[in-house]
């Protein structure tokens, strides 16, 4: 029915999605907003197919009606055989012939049911998978478009959302939605067949049946609220755990590990109690159902029994209920309730699924279109058009009249700054004076509220995306990623550029990191954990510098405290590397290390440049 997309295809879809949103901002934005609202929802065609699988399941159920008929006929014949005509041998021969036909019929119908069921379950599963994969792609698309400098949910929370919450959608679509269709089809059909034999039995079913949804809706509403709270609790528990495990060393050093154990314990206990609370409600709703279905079957049995005895003489259309008819009614009764029970079993899949949908919608809302975006996504022009003439020579940089506030705090007010092509500028100033923010502005992580930033005469809005792929950038707290040291270095390489092992070593030498890598047990193949574990802060910084140096075609150098955490000798290595990197490039370096400031270039004190800001700090 559906095939798995190959990775290549997926990439293309992904790029297409991006292009769609960047090319037509007006229409694209509304379309995207709709797409965001519909995160994790089935497409119209998928909804249709899901319903169809429900019908297939219902068909499989309905085949039980002829099966029950065959059984009733067989047992009725047995009774008739024993009591009606006495034990004449030719009769019993025909009975066993009839029995053979009935058994064969039953088996044939059974095989048919199995095929229908198999087909329905597989179909529903595939569609659910598709919806899940699309939900992941949608979340990622939004996350990728968001400015990296903007506030994000904690990484643990995000990781949990994109795995667990999306996982919860599977059972919802796979189990719940088809059951709804089955519920619409099967009980009605069974009641209609039952009416034919006995209106009273049908009435018993009709009274017990519809009461169930009423009670379940009442209980279900509570279950949904509780389940939503429960999901939040699980996400929180994951977040707390990740955070505490990351900071475990700090906790141990302050002797706070045991206290944290208590925190984790109480969070776990809260989670357990919450889960039980949700489940008790869910169990209650299925208990109501069990009660009515058990009573329904019991009443049917008692009614049929009494009418066969002749104690009850109403409930049928004239002729009294025959044994076969009564048995048939009794056999159908459980199947009347079976879809209801399956529905109830799937109901907390629904509760969890709907809660997950809300969670995902909230996530999208949080990181979605109304929050700061990367400029390339909101630009009117196609960034590819800008890419053609590129930034092949060292660009000039001009901040004119730039005003910017972050989280209610004004960082720049009417700031002007000019950097000539190929010039090296050092940014100094006390911590919090906006050095990092200024560099972020060039990368397009922040957009000025007023004024303009021009790089090589082009608006930073337009070129930022391109610039990011062509800049030597050293952040204040560089981050290395899961994977080998070599893989981390290769992240700095322009797409498709050939890289030899020598190139890597050249970059490492430039960053003063050659010796440290040679000392590592597996050299370039050394696996790095989260936060580059295994390396000290200074070592991470040098590896990050080497990674930056892999951007060889870059024409701009942006460095944020490049020598922080380094001893003098190593800092000297790094500064030597920086000197090489800044040659022939426009460079902006934020630092207060006197050794860095000794490099040739112009020094700008940001505190002075933004002097007007301090008194206007509270807007």
């Amino acid at each position: 029915m559906c095939h798995l997309n190959s990775p290549g295809e997926r990439d293309i879809t992904f790029a297409m999605l991006k292009r769609l949103t960047s090319q037509t901002p007006g229409a694209g934005e509304t379309a995207q907003r709709q797409a965001n609202a519909a995160i994790g929802q089935p497409l119209a065609s998928e909804g249709h197919s899901l319903r169809r699988t429900g019908y297939l399941l219902g068909m499989s159920d309905l085949l039980w009606i002829p099966q029950a008929g065959l059984i009733s006929i067989a047992l009725g014949a047995m009774l008739a055989d024993l009591f009606g005509a006495g034990a004449t041998s030719p009769q019993s021969a025909s009975v066993s012939g009839q029995l053979l036909v009935i058994v064969a019929g039953l088996v044939c119908l059974a095989v048919l049911r199995m095929l229908l069921q198999n087909r329905a379950l597989n179909g529903a599963r595939r569609i659910a998978r598709k919806i899940q994969s699309r939900a992941r792609a949608d979340i990622l698309r939004v996350a990728v478009e968001r400015s990296p400098a903007a506030v994000f949910p904690a990484s643990g929370v995000f990781a949990a959302q994109i795995t667990e919450q999306v996982d919860l959608l599977g059972p919802y679509y796979r189990n719940y939605v088809p059951q709804v269709m089955r519920l619409k089809l099967v009980p009605l059909a069974i009641v209609l067949v039952t009416v034919w034999f006995s209106w009273l039995a049908a009435l018993i079913l009709l009274i017990c049946g519809p009461l169930i949804p009423v009670f379940m809706a009442l209980i279900g509403m509570r279950a949904k609220a509780a389940s939503a709270a429960q999901q939040e609790e699980l996400t929180r528990l994951s977040g707390i755990l990740l955070d505490r495990i990351r900071g475990l060393e700090t906790l141990v050093l302050f002797g706070a590990a045991e206290r944290t154990e208590d925190d984790i314990r109480s969070a776990g206990e809260r989670f357990r109690l919450g889960t039980m609370r949700v489940l008790k409600i869910a169990f209650l709703s299925s208990t109501v159902l069990e009660l009515f279905s058990a009573l329904g079957i019991a009443f049917c049995a008692v009614y049929v029994g009494f009418s066969l005895l002749g104690d009850i003489e109403f409930g049928t259309w004239g002729a009294p209920l025959t044994y076969s008819g009564g048995l048939f009614v009794l056999l159908l009764a459980p199947e009347f309730f079976a879809p209801l029970r399956a529905y109830a079993a799937a109901y907390h899949d629904r509760a969890a699924g709907v809660a997950a949908l809300e969670k995902l919608a909230a996530l999208i809302e949080e990181i979605g279109p109304d929050s700061p975006q990367l400029p390339e996504c909101i630009s009117m022009e196609n960034p590819a058009a800008v890419a053609v003439d590129g930034i092949s020579s060292p660009p000039s940089i001009r901040f004119s009249d730039v005003t910017l506030s972050l989280a209610g705090r004004r960082v720049f007010r009417n700031m002007d700054l000019d950097v000539a092509p190929g010039e090296t500028v050092f940014l100094t100033g006390p911590s919090g004076s906006g050095k990092t923010t200024l560099l972020d502005c060039l990368l397009g992580f922040h957009l000025p509220e007023e004024g303009e930033i021009r790089i090589d005469g082009k608006s930073a809005r337009l070129v930022a995306g391109l610039l990011r792929r062509n800049v030597i950038w050293i952040s204040q707290s560089p981050r290395l990623f899961h994977g080998s040291l070599k893989a981390n270095l290769l992240k700095g390489v322009e797409d498709g550029a050939p890289v030899s092992e020598d190139d890597l070593w050249t970059a490492l030498r430039l960053a003063g990191a050659e010796d440290l890598v040679r000392r590592l047990p597996h050299g370039l193949a050394t696996p790095l954990g989260e936060d580059g574990f295994g390396l000290s802060v200074g070592e991470i910084r040098r590896v990050a510098l080497a990674r930056a140096a892999m951007h060889r075609k870059a024409t701009l150098v942006l460095a944020d405290e490049p020598t922080a955490g380094l001893d003098e000798d190593t800092a000297a290595d790094v500064i030597r590397g920086l000197k090489t990197l800044t040659a022939g490039r426009t460079s902006l370096i934020a630092s207060h290390d006197p050794a860095v400031l000794e490099m040739p270039g112009r020094t700008i004190d940001l505190a002075e440049l933004t002097a007007g800001v301090r008194e206007g700090a509270t807007p």
């Binding site: 029995l99 949990a160 049995a301 008692v302 005895l309 989280a407 989260e530």
Partner: protein, 556 residues
């Protein structure tokens, strides 16, 4: 599978009473459900016979039994679910705590926290299937099957034989689902799920670096390709599970057809009464549901086994520190022992080719501030880690205040030493909670005093929430220097004998650095200080400077 078994037995040991209570509670409604239809079938047939022959039939007892069974089945189901789930979650919560505690004693604890998070939360919740979806249904099936076979045997041999054949078929399906399970698919699915999680965490936490190196799209694309692998692997598993469940349904239906034949023939041969024959047929109607119950759980067994294996691996880690019962250090009598003493300390990282420290010896006197200087990579941070007992030396000994460092209990040691590390971690929690890590009993006034010492009062009181301001992950929202100063404020809430500073003023501008350092020196009082430093400013503040030798020649 062994790991699953270990989980089962550990849950059994954790709470035997609830373990068996859950299983008993499961048997009750199952039996009531079987009997409900069986008795109903018997009753209407008996009633029909009585109606035909005019014989007397006690009608009130059966109809009362039928209604009673209906109620027992219902109440039993509720009780069973509550009891089994409660037992499981109690056990799992205990397991989670036990694992976090195990973590604290691990040496490689800060590696791959994303994966470990997976283990703690997902693996533990995956383990709920062990009892709920495997142990209870399987034992229930075994018990019910045994009971049914006994009853069938008592009724007639053909009925018993049919029962053996079809119950055997179900057992065969269960066996197939376990023995022929695709363990590789399970492993692939697990790995893909881990990859999604880790990369998603990387995408968020490292988004600045990723935006420039490699690009966010590339990570997003790699997450999507992991998602594809997950889909493919889970598809294999689920297709199998679906097929098994459908087959189980088919077995049930064929069983029904065959038992119909057996019942009719048996009744015709007067082996048993027709009423009993009808009852037998109706019992078989109920069975597929019961015997299919264990299949989904069994089909997921490979996944569960992987989770169980990882959990057991974490559990089985022996506590790292068994206090070595060495004789206490005897210091030269009459001598004033140094506050911190390193004697011939040698250290080598596991897997490394050479020692980082070789027979290093030095002393720090009371109230003395000693700076350790040396080129990056010469083991300065290792000295700090050994002095704070985060690492144990390979050889030699470390004394704190005249006693071997290994003899201190954790509480006393942590009260005696405060470390201001290179990697001061700020938690995704309020400012107050971050500070109280250092001292749980600190009042708000204490916190403000500490913030004042760290020159952070203004910054924190600027925020409308004050001490209740939540810090983003890694302390986002504060600048690098501010994060450092918050970590400093945290240290100011302690009163240790020894401060270990690991490049405390790093990343601060020189003015702030001087300010922070002088505030610290003012605050430290009589505590000794071990400073890992390379800035002139810090070196100048020390009473004595200890230069570590250059790292040994490189190993090629």
């Amino acid at each position: 599978m062994k790991a699953v078994w270990r989980i089962v037995s550990s849950q059994h040991q954790h709470d035997r009473f609830h373990f068996w209570l859950g299983i008993l509670a499961a048997i009750l409604p199952a039996v009531a459900g079987i009997l409900l239809l069986g008795v109903s079938g018997w009753f209407i047939t008996a009633a029909a016979l009585a109606g035909l022959s005019g014989a007397f039939l006690n009608i009130f007892a059966p109809s009362a039994i039928i209604r009673a069974l209906a109620i027992v089945r219902t109440a039993g189901r509720y009780g069973e679910r509550v009891v089994t789930h409660d037992a499981t979650f109690r056990f799992l919560t205990a397991l989670r705590n036990q694992l976090f505690a195990a973590f604290l004693t691990r040496r490689d604890r800060h590696r791959r926290s994303g994966v470990l998070l997976n283990r703690l939360t997902l693996d533990i919740s995956a383990l709920d299937t062990v009892y709920l979806r495997i142990v209870v249904p399987v034992l229930l099936c075994v018990f019910t099957a045994a009971a049914l076979l006994c009853v069938w045997f008592a009724i007639a041999v053909p009925v018993f034989v049919a029962g053996v054949v079809f119950l055997g078929a179900w057992a065969g399906l269960a066996w197939i689902s376990v023995a022929r399970a695709d363990r590789k698919a399970a492993r692939r699915a697990d790995a893909a799920s881990d990859a999604i999680r880790l990369r998603a965490a990387d995408l968020v936490a490292g988004r600045r670096d990723l935006a420039i190196y490699g690009g966010l799209d590339a990570v997003a694309a790699s997450i999507l390709s992991a998602d594809e692998r997950l889909t493919a692997a889970e598809d294999v598993e689920e297709r199998r599970a679906t097929r098994l469940i459908c087959l189980s349904g088919l077995v049930g239906q064929v069983f029904l057809a065959v038992s119909l034949a057996v019942a009719v023939v048996g009744a015709a041969q007067a082996a048993f009464s027709p009423a009993l024959a009808a009852g037998l047929v109706l019992v078989v109607v109920v069975l597929p549901e019961l015997f299919s119950m264990a299949l989904p759980g069994l089909a997921r067994l490979p996944r569960t086994a992987l989770a169980a294996k990882r959990v057991s691996a974490l559990q089985s880690v022996a506590p790292a520190r068994t206090s070595n019962a060495q004789t206490p250090a005897i210091h030269r009598p009459g001598d004033n022992p140094p506050l911190l003493g390193f004697e011939d300390v040698t250290f080598r990282y596991p897997g490394a080719a050479r020692d980082v420290l070789e027979t290093l010896s030095f002393d720090i006197g009371k109230a003395e501030a000693v700076a350790i200087a040396g080129r990056s990579g010469c083991g300065k941070s290792t000295v700090a880690a050994i002095a704070s007992r985060m690492l144990d030396p390979r050889a030699g000994r470390v004394c704190l205040d005249g006693r071997d460092l290994g003899e201190y209990d954790e509480q006393t040691l942590r009260r005696s030493i405060t470390v201001l590390g290179q990697r001061a971690y700020l938690f995704n929690d309020t400012v107050a909670a971050n500070l109280r890590i250092a001292n749980a009993d600190a009042t708000d006034a204490d916190l403000w005093t500490a913030l004042e010492h760290a020159a952070l009062v203004e910054r924190i009181s600027d925020s409308s929430q004050g001490l209740g301001t939540v810090l983003g992950e890694g302390g986002l929202g504060l600048s690098g220097g501010e994060q450092r100063r918050l970590a400093l404020a945290r240290a100011f809430l302690t009163r240790p004998k020894l401060f270990i500073l690991d490049e405390m003023t790093e990343g601060l501008d020189s003015e702030t650095a001087r300010d922070v350092l002088s505030r610290f020196l003012q605050f430290r009082g009589n505590a000794s200080v071990l400073m890992i430093a390379h800035k002139r400013l810090e070196l100048d503040a020390a009473d004595r400077i200890l230069r570590l030798p250059e790292p040994g020649h490189e190993i090629r």
